[in-house]
């Protein structure tokens, strides 16, 4: 207890905790849409493309986060417009974007004169380096996401569920899918600080996947994902501190353990139900 209070007196620890909690909210909301709308691979493409913009901005001495955000949004808009109903070209576009982003980023960072930034931090993240400004930025963005969710919840669900039907109903489907893609892109960029480019997908997918195993109501999946995200980030943070492990991978692996436990529990419960004398019709 004593050590916890000491720990909390450090600003970087507090920032890490705030960032973790905010990330959980972002992951819960955005991640649920990513998973149900099958945008997981798209999100991966966006986050790796963002690395390209990040590298270029690093080279130019401009704020890398701005470069990452710009590239991510452009990538999201491009992927959103590529081949509606043409799965193959979209799939391939994601792959190209993915690799080109990494290549551009790596070359520009390599060519940046002077102090070479730690590539590992971008690839795997470090929640302990999150600064106050980052926390405030994430807070503002999370508030925006929640605001939009409250305003347009029914439309977003309708579009995520069945675009064609929503369009017949007169819902501006294109506008909502674009909005969703931009939000995914910006979330990915903000989450990169925490878990890095490679692991950001885990934070967007693991909580909703667990949520979907536990409940079948959309709004409950979102709430559960937020809680699971918080357990992942805060638990991962504690474990990484306790065992001196890198925070990003620890967060992801803790999530994986949770995922395995829940799916195992579900299987056990299902088998029990099957064995018990007919309570199902």
């Amino acid at each position: 207890m004593e050590s916890l209070t000491t720990l909390l007196s450090f600003e970087f620890v507090r920032n890490a905790i705030y960032a973790g909690l905010l990330a959980s909210v972002l992951c819960g909301v955005i991640g649920t849409f990513v998973v149900v709308k099958r945008l997981v691979f798209v999100s991966g493409g966006i986050s790796h493309a963002a690395f390209g913009g990040l590298g270029v901005c690093y080279f130019l001495g401009v704020e890398p986060l701005a470069g990452a955000a710009t590239t991510a949004v452009l990538a999201a808009l491009w992927l959103g417009s590529v081949g509606h109903g043409r799965e193959r070209s979209r799939d391939a576009s994601i792959g190209v974007l993915w690799a080109v982003g990494m290549a551009v980023g790596a070359i520009f960072i390599f060519k940046t004169p002077g102090y070479a930034p730690n590539l590992m931090t971008y690839l795997f993240g470090n929640i302990l380096t999150v600064e106050r400004g980052d926390v405030l930025l994430t807070l503002a963005f999370t508030a925006l996401v929640i605001g939009l969710l409250v305003l347009f919840f029914e439309e977003l669900v309708a579009v995520a569920f069945d675009e064609e039907f929503a369009k017949v109903q007169g819902v501006p489907v294109r506008a909502f899918t674009t909005l969703l893609m931009v939000l995914v892109a910006l979330s990915v960029v903000l989450l990169i600080q925490l878990v890095g480019i490679i692991l950001v997908i885990a934070l967007l997918t693991i909580p909703p996947v667990i949520g979907l195993m536990l409940t079948r109501s959309f709004i409950k999946v979102i709430f559960l994902s937020v809680v699971i995200g918080a357990v992942m980030t805060l638990g991962g943070l504690a474990l990484s501190y306790g065992f001196d492990l890198p925070s990003g991978p620890t967060i992801v692996l803790l999530g994986t353990v949770l995922l395995l436990m829940v799916s195992l529990l579900r299987r056990v419960r299902r088998e029990k139900r099957l064995r018990s004398p007919r309570n199902a019709t």
Binding site: L151, F152, E154, A158, F161, D162, G170, V171
Partner: protein, 249 residues
């Protein structure tokens, strides 16, 4: 006379995918009391025409006039265009039919929920209202889609192969509902088997790149017999197309 009160007007619509023309200068009027069957061979453009009418596809040329807003159009797609593992309950899916183009922050009202319950009851879905859609049988899912289309009390109903995966019991419910609805609104149904709708169909549009329209009076049981062979006829001979026999004017 029918033209005067047509609800939907398709004028000289041409459409295709890539280079291939699917619909070639297709025109069609749908009147207020119509029960129109759209038939034709696979790949002939039935669903494509429907999607153009609904505004889901934009024609290369030609015009579609449909003086109705989103909520006034009932649409039952052929294949559920959604992921069956999506975390929505039957009640929520049906209620999507009442979404329309509402502004921000407008939640569903009590009236919306009442309408949903009514329509669920009508289609014998009340017992599964709180089930998720992945637990439904084919017939239940089809009835859910029809319920979703009807819950907004549409002014016109479009159905794409509504009896495709339906058990005999659901089939009776669906047919009875369509017959009843057609007393007040036009019904447009895409089907490969118009004998299923025998006695209800008033007009037939046969589509195979071009559209051949057969107004109501001619559709007698004997003619329906012949129309059943439509896809085969069309594929075999193309134009001139003699599915309905000689017209006697």
């Amino acid at each position: 006379m029918e033209q005067a009160q047509s609800l939907v007007s398709v004028q000289e619509v041409t459409f295709g995918y890539e280079e291939e023309v699917i619909l070639d200068r297709v025109s069609l009027e749908i009147g207020a009391q119509d029960f129109l069957a759209i038939i034709g061979p696979n790949g002939g453009g039935k669903t494509t025409l429907l999607k153009i009418i609904l505004g889901l596809l934009r024609p290369w040329s030609g015009r579609v006039e449909l003086g109705l807003s989103g909520k006034e159009i009932g649409y039952v797609p052929q294949f559920a265009g959604f992921d069956k593992s999506f975390p929505l309950q039957v009640f929520d899916v049906v209620r999507l039919g009442r979404l329309g183009d509402r502004g921000p922050l407008r939640r569903y009202s009590r009236e919306d929920n009442c309408r949903v319950e009514e329509v669920l009851d009508r289609f014998d879905l009340s017992s599964v209202a709180r089930e998720t859609i992945d637990s439904l049988s084919g017939g239940q899912l089809q009835r859910t889609l029809i319920a979703r289309a009807l819950v907004s009390e549409p002014k016109i109903l479009f159905l794409d192969e509504p009896l495709g995966s339906v058990d005999p019991e659901s089939r009776q419910v669906v047919l009875g509902t369509l017959e009843e609805l057609n007393r007040s609104i036009p019904v447009v149904v895409i089907t490969h088997d118009i004998t299923l709708f025998a006695g209800m169909i008033k007009q037939v549009a046969c589509i195979n790149r071009e559209l051949f329209y057969h107004p109501g009076a001619e559709v007698t049981p004997e003619i329906l017999e012949k129309v059943y062979g439509c896809p085969v006829e069309l594929v075999a001979h193309g134009v001139p197309h003699r599915v309905l026999g000689e017209h006697q004017h």
